[in-house]
């Protein structure tokens, strides 16, 4: 048998067992899956490290904002109208806004809503778009045609206009303003994930192992979940990460326009909107939430870039 690569039993006991691995950097005994390979690649990319640290800080900020500030902006007693638009001072390093509330504390507390909306919308669009994309790509034919035409209808709606319409129409109903923003962004965001998933599934479907799996008795569900999904997941994860930043920005835009998150909930978009009238007198209440927003969006887009580079072996 000439194609035996390296019979382990002939090796001295302290030598590594198994064949030589294609990448010398790999640890012994740990087989290389796409994901472990990608992780290996990812954690030595500076762009990933920077974005991961930023996102980690943001997540901590969202979960435990009191770690960063002693002032609770949800307590109206912390605002003093008499000190409105006061510049930075000892206890209020970013100064105070139009209502005399602390800009720093409000910026910190705004992270929670931004991340909540960004992450929920990303999960919802990935789930809905991914499911439809998987089914359409796999079954093709009529299913594909119907689903694709449906997404084209959604693509034809300018997204800010559409979200504005949805958020404005159902305002004041039983749903909270945050839920409404998530729904509006999901309705307009899922076709993007759908397209990516469908394309990835069609590519994966034509590969021999799918035919082989079918020839060995795998049913539709098994082929979709075990053979197509894992092989089509990479581009969806990349687009989801990049979109997450986009959704946070879109939430800020909706809040700025007055149909997103509403007071007393705190949102960066809302803060920017409130501060814009007096921008020339007091620029800081607008600049600080805007900086928080930009850094958050940038962090997710950078993460998405790094993940894409790690998952696409052709770019290596």
């Amino acid at each position: 048998m000439s194609d035996i690569q390296q019979p382990a039993q002939t090796l001295p006991p302290n030598a590594p067992s198994g064949p030589p691995l294609p990448r010398s950097t790999k640890k012994e005994g740990k087989p290389a899956s796409l994901w472990s390979d990608a992780w290996h690649d990812l954690r030595r990319r500076p762009i990933f490290i920077v974005s991961a640290i930023l996102i980690a800080v943001l997540v901590v900020m969202a979960l435990w904002p009191s770690l960063f500030t002693a002032i609770d902006p949800n307590d109206p007693r912390t605002c003093e109208l008499a000190t409105a638009r006061q510049g930075p001072s000892g206890g209020h390093i970013f100064g105070r806004d139009n209502l005399g509330c602390d800009v720093y504390a409000r910026s910190i507390y705004g992270a929670a809503n931004s991340l909540l909306i960004g992450i929920s919308t990303t999960l919802a669009t990935s789930l809905i778009g991914g499911m439809f994309g998987l089914a359409a790509g796999y079954f093709g034919g009529v299913t594909d045609t119907l689903a694709s035409r449906l997404t084209e209808i959604f693509f034809a709606i300018p997204s800010i206009l559409g979200a504005l319409l949805i958020a404005a129409t159902f305002r004041g109903g039983p749903l909270s303003s945050i839920t409404l923003v998530i729904i509006a962004l999901t309705v307009l965001g899922w076709p993007m994930t759908y397209r990516i998933m469908r394309a990835a599934v069609i590519t994966a479907k034509s590969q021999d192992f799918v035919v082989a799996a079918k020839a060995l008795g795998a049913g539709h569900m098994r082929i979709m979940m075990r053979h197509l999904l894992p092989n089509a997941l990479a581009p969806v994860i990349v687009i989801a990460t990049i979109n997450l930043g986009g959704f946070i920005a879109a939430e800020a835009a909706l809040s700025f326009l007055g149909v997103g998150v509403t007071s007393p909930d705190i949102s960066w978009g809302l803060m920017i909107s409130d501060a814009r009238n007096r921008f020339l007198d007091a620029p800081l209440p607008l600049i600080f939430p805007a900086v928080f927003l930009s850094i958050t969006v940038l962090a997710f887009i950078m993460l998405g870039d790094a993940v894409r580079d790690a998952l696409d072996p052709k770019l290596r």
């Binding site: 192992f209 020839a215 008795g217 795998a218 075990r226 894992p230």
Partner: protein
């Protein structure tokens, strides 16, 4: 998997006169924008338990399409099966529901493909993929299924199976990957195994080992083996009988030794003469003149007539039927006697 389908296939047991698998007058067409591609035009062959049938033919002769029709893995549309029967233990598979057919796939009739690397899912370990067969179809637990997977890897002679069970497909050599595919295909003890050019992607020494392995596994389990190939050398040792295909038809059917000694169709004869021989060193190789037929626009009469040295007027107008020469042999040629006697040329 539930076994609730109303059409229940006959269990293993006596077959009477019925062969294990019989393909009868099978036609497969692909309806494309450019026209109807007649890929298979009335193929008939049969297989008994423990028997090896080699289906021989060049690219586009319809040998793989026939196999895919048996497995039910043709994409329909564009493929259409307008005529024919595929009987497995007497039941026409083409009349079964999709549900019932998926019960046959993998469990009763399994298939090994040409390129083992692309036939294995790159994101799962080989042990996971082999043991999945047991988990899905036999309802085994993870641990038990993995033990069975290691046993199976031993059975297809993968060295150090226990250590390698958690490796990914790309960590194996070509021959080893094909062994893993074979392990997966025989996992559920199928009664028929179809191997579609199982050795084409491998180098020559490994080819011989894989053929030997298939032959051994067949002896152990008495399954019927259909070996699809374009390589006359590969089949000589393992096949019992040979069906030669040309232009979507069977042109000659014969026991393996007869066909090498006395071919009864000009195409078979041409193929045999094209095999390079050691004593021919330095001379030009023989080649069948012309090109394989365009399946969109088949020649009239006998599909082989534009390339045939025995051609007469009748070959252009009338397609010869596959007719018996003796009990075990048949040929689709108007002049099979002349070919058999070698009186021409």
């Amino acid at each position: 998997m539930k076994k609730t389908s109303p059409e229940v296939l006959p269990a293993e047991g006596g077959l009477g006169n019925e062969p294990l698998l019989a393909v009868d007058n099978l036609h497969v067409e692909f309806r494309t924008r450019a026209g109807v591609v007649h890929a298979v035009n009335g193929v008939t062959y049969s297989l008994n338990p423990g028997e090896t049938l080699a289906v021989l033919g060049e690219s586009g002769s319809g040998k793989s399409v026939t196999a895919q029709a048996i497995m039910g893995i043709l994409d329909m549309p564009p493929a259409v099966i307008p005529k024919g029967e595929i009987r497995f233990r007497g039941t026409d598979l083409l009349k079964l529901s999709e549900d019932a057919r998926s019960q046959v796939r993998g469990q009763r009739i399994a298939m090994v493909f040409q390129d083992a690397l692309s036939s294995l899912n790159p994101v799962f370990t080989v042990g996971w993929q082999i043991s999945e067969m047991f988990r899905v179809h036999r309802g085994m637990g993870k641990k038990e299924a993995l033990t069975k997977a290691v046993e199976l890897m031993d059975r297809v002679r993968i060295p150090a199976a226990r250590q390698r069970v958690n490796d990914y497909p790309h960590q194996f050599s070509g021959g080893m990957r094909q062994r893993i595919m074979i392990a997966m295909s025989i996992a559920l003890d199928p009664e028929v195994l179809i191997a579609d050019e199982p050795t084409t992607a491998l180098d020559v020494t490994v080819q011989a080992q894989i053929m030997e392995l298939l032959a051994e596994l067949q002896r152990e389990s008495n399954m019927g083996l259909i070996l699809i190939t374009h390589d006359l050398g590969v089949v000589a040792d393992v096949a019992d009988k040979i069906a030669v295909m040309y232009g979507g038809r069977i042109v000659e059917n014969a026991p393996v030794h007869d066909i090498y000694k006395t071919p009864a169709h000009p195409y078979t004869k041409g193929l045999l003469e094209s095999i390079p021989r050691v004593d021919q060193k330095g001379q030009d190789l023989y080649a069948i003149k012309g090109m394989p037929p365009n399946l969109l626009d088949m020649p009239t009469g006998c599909a082989f007539h534009p390339r045939c040295p025995y051609r007469q007027d009748i070959c252009v107008t009338e397609a010869p039927a596959l007719s018996g020469i003796s009990g075990t042999r048949s040929s689709a040629c108007h002049y099979w006697r002349e070919v058999l006697d070698g009186t021409h040329e």
